[in-house]
């Protein structure tokens, strides 16, 4: 489920410590809120979206991620991602 909304703080459903499985994380991806499973790496996120990491550039909280770091970088609750690529232009 996604909604177009990049205003305001991004928070996911909370859970008290010790209350069962960790809650899903909520991220903003290209301006849209998305719920992602906890512990998901950015590489896995891209794979789930059908994206080739070699064809996109990832910015996480305004920092560009090196391709080599995608598998080791988790998508954390509150993260804002921009996935960009080259398109036609003058």
């Amino acid at each position: 489920m996604t909604t177009s909304d990049d205003s305001g703080p991004v928070t996911g459903p909370g859970g008290a410590a010790g209350d069962g499985p960790p809650a899903a994380a909520t991220i903003v991806l290209n301006g849209e809120r998305r719920a992602v499973e906890p512990g998901l790496s950015v590489a896995e996120l891209l794979h789930g979206l059908g994206l080739d990491p070699g064809m996109v550039v990832v910015e996480r909280n305004r920092e560009i991620l090196a391709r080599g770091d995608l598998a080791d970088t988790p998508a954390e609750d509150g993260d804002r991602f921009e996935l960009v690529h080259f398109v036609g232009g003058g």
């Binding site: 991806l29 290209n30 301006g31 849209e32 979206l49 059908g50 994206l51 064809m55 996109v56 550039v57 910015e59 305004r62 560009i64 090196a66 391709r67 921009e82 996935l83 960009v84 690529h85 080259f86 398109v87 036609g88 232009g89 003058g90």
Partner: protein, 263 residues
Amino acid sequence: MGSATRADGPLLIGGRPFASRLIVGTGKYRSNAEMVSAIRASGAEMVTVAVRRVDLDRTKEEGILHHLDPAEFFLLPNTAGCYTAADAIRYARLGRAAGLNDWVKLEVIGDERTLLPDTGATLEAARELVADDFHVLAYTNDDLIAALRLEDAGCAAVMPLASPIGSGLGLVNPYYIREIKRRLAVPVIVDAGVGTASDACLTMEQGVDGVLMNTALAAAEDPVGMARAMRLAVRAGREAYLAGRMASREIAVPSSPSAGMLE
């Protein structure tokens, strides 16, 4: 002794040679197939691309790397759509992170209606990007002072406009473009506003090092045909410039001898 022919060398930007003095954009084409055909017909080696969000709802094939091979063309990321130095710097870094090169066509726009550059912001961005080891090719206007400042800032090339982006108005100020070319040591590539072949030819006749165009090809009825024309026009203008044109004057000078007329 025969007349000396001023031999032309390649277009040299940042020490890298390009055999073609025509650089083309990849935007606004009716189809990717037409874009590739037109680019090939133009003979261009360097093409510009824009940096944009991946559209997660549509086909994954829309990225330009699915249609243009970086092994065949030198892709120059641009900062199109940026209205501040900070945005342009952000987009330039994203473009570099694609891993192809550290070149950028720097554009910082100051006005939405004319798409004229904000030269102050362009200079600010150029300084920061040069310090960050980019090869900066800076889109600017036909203002000599702005061009000199961009060169001083370390830009690899300065790219004054012929007329507004996408306008097809051609070269509106040849006088200032000529002066910019006389005064700068870095390559001068006229970018924006070229509409048809004569515009490209006239531009090259001013002595500039290259021409960059997008809409002139993409919006032509036959982009491949126009690309062929542009390839010839850039060559013709360059050769005419190197040949050293005749002086023009406002009175007539006969081409046939005055002597030997019958009585």
